[in-house]
């Protein structure tokens, strides 16, 4: 599956991994903040 990939494909994948990781963590933070908001509102 990976044999057809040229160098720039790999480079693109590598940098997209960064974007996904950082973006994913920011989304996680937002989700956690929302959960906290719900917990606080429950009181």
């Amino acid at each position: 599956m990976f044999d057809g990939w040229n160098a720039w494909t790999w480079v693109t994948v590598a940098w997209i991994e960064l974007v996904l990781a950082y973006g994913g963590y920011l989304i996680y933070l937002r989700w956690r903040a929302a959960r906290l908001g719900r917990e606080e509102d429950e009181r």
Binding site: A7, A14, Y25, L29, R32, G37, E40
Partner: protein
């Protein structure tokens, strides 16, 4: 429903923007400004993404461990919050390092895994961090939880230099194909080194920003947990 995090300080927004901009500039430097490598050609541009987060993952573990030690020393909850936040960041950057390492080694060495010292060390570190989170999930009382996870992080920190030696000796004395994935085996000219350092800086900025965001969140979670504890209710979901 009001936003759960009111009163965002301006400097935090500035930091976030600066970090993202640095990341973008680093990417541009790595993708356009840096010349292709003599041996690896354009694949060297993977190295910038991978090596930069690798260094920051170890920085994060260091922060987590020293914050844990500070918690043991002072007993102040905020240090435990920092330790937890840095542990999450270390897990994030560590996992990213491993995936990036695989992305680097497959095209260059035609294998997804090499026993590269840094990669092996990172894999061990990620496994150790998973243990920290498992243990945290098992302890309900916040002070005890912070103390035990600090203890584990101390063991993790102590393990890093020795594990690196073991992995490095294993690699250099092992008759298996491997190149030095730290980017050090690659003969780097001045431009490439500068690009790498800039990307390391950008990754460090991202780490700092994400850490502060997570700590702000964690402090409020800790406050809620304490309130619930005092009220005698079950400190349920906001744990960890």
């Amino acid at each position: 429903m009001t936003s759960p995090l009111p009163r965002r300080p301006t400097w935090l927004n500035v930091l976030g923007v600066v970090a993202l901009v640095a990341l973008a500039i680093g990417a541009w430097l790595g993708l356009r400004v840096s010349p292709p490598d003599v041996n690896q050609g354009d694949l060297i541009r993977v190295m910038y993404a991978h090596v930069s987060v690798a260094w920051v993952s170890f920085l994060a573990v260091g922060v987590a461990a020293f914050a844990g030690i500070a918690f043991l020393w002072t007993g102040k909850r905020r240090f435990d919050v920092v330790s937890l936040a840095a542990s999450e960041a270390a897990l994030l950057f560590g996992a990213l390092t491993i995936i990036g390492g695989m992305t680097y080694s497959k095209p260059t060495l035609n294998t997804f895994w090499t026993w590269d010292a840094k990669l092996t060390l990172t894999a061990l570190m990620v496994a150790l961090l998973a243990g920290v989170f498992i243990v945290r999930g098992l302890i309900e009382e916040p002070v005890r939880r912070g103390r035990v996870s600090a203890v584990i992080l101390i063991v993790v920190l102590a393990s890093l230099p020795l594990n690196y030696l073991a992995a490095e000796w294993f690699r250099t004395l092992h008759p298996a194909k491997s190149i030095d994935l730290t980017g050090g085996g690659v003969t780097m000219d001045a431009t490439m080194l500068e690009v790498l350092l800039f990307n390391v800086g950008a990754a460090a900025l991202m780490f700092t920003w994400l850490l502060i965001e997570r700590v702000r969140l964690g402090l409020r979670e800790a406050e809620l947990e304490d309130r619930r504890g005092r009220g005698g209710e079950q400190a349920e979901v906001v744990r960890v």
